[in-house]
């Protein structure tokens, strides 16, 4: 029995299952931790304490929030387009889970090393837009709809510079596999060679995750709560969960591509990887609690007239230099 289980675990399918369970667990823990961290960091940036009374340092706060949201009435507004409304919060998890499969946490800690890893992530991340659009359309709420449309325009605009910023690294590493990209950074992190690409990627990443200063889809002072205005309880929690997981993914990819991933002295690889990722997560949170929001036309102008030409130029120069 035990042997059978071990055998199963050793097989490819078994690995996949264990990996998925691990990923799911990580997604939940990461989101809980990040909600806590966000409130705590925001608190201290505003010279207050943040969650404190629920558990030591308020650490149980996210669990209380999650339990509360679980225990809420399951409320479906009368006029919503039911299939879309129900499907959207579930669908938003597909890209999130798929992305985790190819991210190398450590030299050996990776669910599957697909040789087109980065393409998988970028391809699947487009599904997020679809689910946001479904949420906005299905809610039959004008604020939701505007939020969803903003989100689509924004994500499409920022996916291009994101891709263009990652391509020079792919050219340098000569591979699309994330593990190999990390391995190529043994001596020198790519951020040193490609600082511009890193900045462009990071800005586009913040925009992709709908965070301030690019949080137009859920701009509270304009759109109440954007595309998830009509969602409550656990369905709303799923959007929340996906948002925080996306932040981590964006940071993790940045760490993998530019900051040497799990490479680092003394400490084990996974520690380095998490350290680098969470440092970038901190920066994203830091940005949110500092800046106002940009306007919609400014946001698009910035992508199409600023980031995309710059990223393209950077790509050309890299390509040219590599040929020489």
């Amino acid at each position: 029995m035990v042997n059978d289980l071990l055998k199963l675990a050793g097989s490819d399918a078994g690995k996949m299952v264990i990996g998925l369970v691990g990923v799911l667990l990580f997604v939940v823990v990461n989101a809980l931790l990040l909600t806590w961290a966000e409130r705590k960091i925001a608190g201290h940036m505003q010279r207050r304490i943040g969650p404190k009374e629920v558990g030591p340092f308020g650490l149980i706060q996210p669990i209380a929030d999650a339990l509360k949201l679980l225990g809420k009435e399951i409320l479906t507004p009368a006029k919503v387009d039911k299939p879309l409304y129900y499907l959207a919060p579930t669908l938003i998890f597909v890209p999130v889970l798929v992305s985790f499969i190819v991210i190398p946490f450590d030299a050996s800690l990776q669910v599957a090393d697909i040789n087109v890893g980065i393409l998988v992530i970028l391809a699947f991340s487009s599904i997020t837009i679809l689910s946001i659009l479904m949420a906005g359309w299905g809610s039959e709420n004008k604020y939701s709809l505007i939020g969803a449309i903003r989100s689509v325009a924004q994500n499409i605009a920022y996916e291009i510079p994101m891709l263009l910023a990652l391509l020079p690294v792919v050219m340098l590493a000569n591979s699309l596999s994330l593990r190999e990209i990390v391995e190529k950074q043994q001596g020198l992190w790519f951020v040193v060679i490609q600082p511009l690409a890193f900045i462009i990627y990071f800005i586009a990443g913040v925009a992709e995750t709908n965070r301030t200063p690019f949080d137009l889809p859920e701009a509270e002072s304009e759109l109440v709560a954007g595309y998830h205005t009509e969602y409550s309880g656990m369905r709303f929690a799923l959007f929340f969960l996906a948002e925080y997981t996306n932040i981590f993914i964006v940071s993790a990819i940045a760490a993998t591509f530019f900051l040497g991933g799990y490479q680092g002295p003394v400490l084990p690889g996974i520690v380095w990887f998490l350290l680098k990722s969470y440092l970038l997560v901190f920066v994203i949170i830091w940005l949110r609690w500092t800046y106002p929001r940009v306007r919609f036309d400014q946001l698009l102008n910035f992508a199409w007239k600023g980031l995309i030409p710059l990223a393209f130029l950077n790509l050309l120069i890299t390509g040219g230099l590599l040929k020489i």
Partner: protein
């Protein structure tokens, strides 16, 4: 244009500097149920009856009703008094204040010819029903004595 770009980037970094500095500064929070702020002595809570300096058993209110007329929102519902033996004036036995309509303006305190009213420092009241805040100030005065 490049200058403007650099200037813009610099301004963004300056903003980040402000928040990160605040991040490492001590917090200014007063943790209310565990710590309390000192309430200013002139704080205006709801009104209370003041005890007579000579005879602490007695309040100074003579149930003349001037405050009832003066109150802008009719919060003082009823003031009753009785004349005790050997005294010139009445002493209040019942002073009903509906705190839920009060605006803490202090007109009753100002118009009182006997200076019988003052402001309490009860600043954190909360309750489960409206009636929790219909006070009988005479009883309250006695209770605060016992404490």
């Amino acid at each position: 244009m490049i200058y403007g770009f650099i200037q813009g980037a610099a301004s963004l970094i300056a903003g980040l500097g402000v928040t990160i500095r605040a991040f490492f500064q001590p917090v200014v929070t007063c943790q209310y149920p565990r710590e309390v702020l000192t309430i200013s002595p002139r704080f205006r809570g709801h009104t209370k009856l003041l005890a007579d300096a000579e005879n602490p058993e007695k309040n100074k209110c003579t149930a003349c009703g001037i405050c009832v007329k003066g109150c802008p929102s009719g919060s003082i519902k009823k003031v009753e008094g009785e004349k005790r033996e050997g005294e010139k004036r009445k002493t209040a036995t019942e002073y009903l204040l509906d705190y839920t309509t009060c605006s803490q303006c202090g007109i009753c305190v100002e118009v009182c010819p006997f200076d019988a009213l003052g402001f309490s420092h009860d600043y954190n009241g909360a309750g489960y029903k409206r009636e929790d805040f219909h006070f009988d100030l005479v009883k309250q005065l006695k209770r605060s004595k016992v404490q």
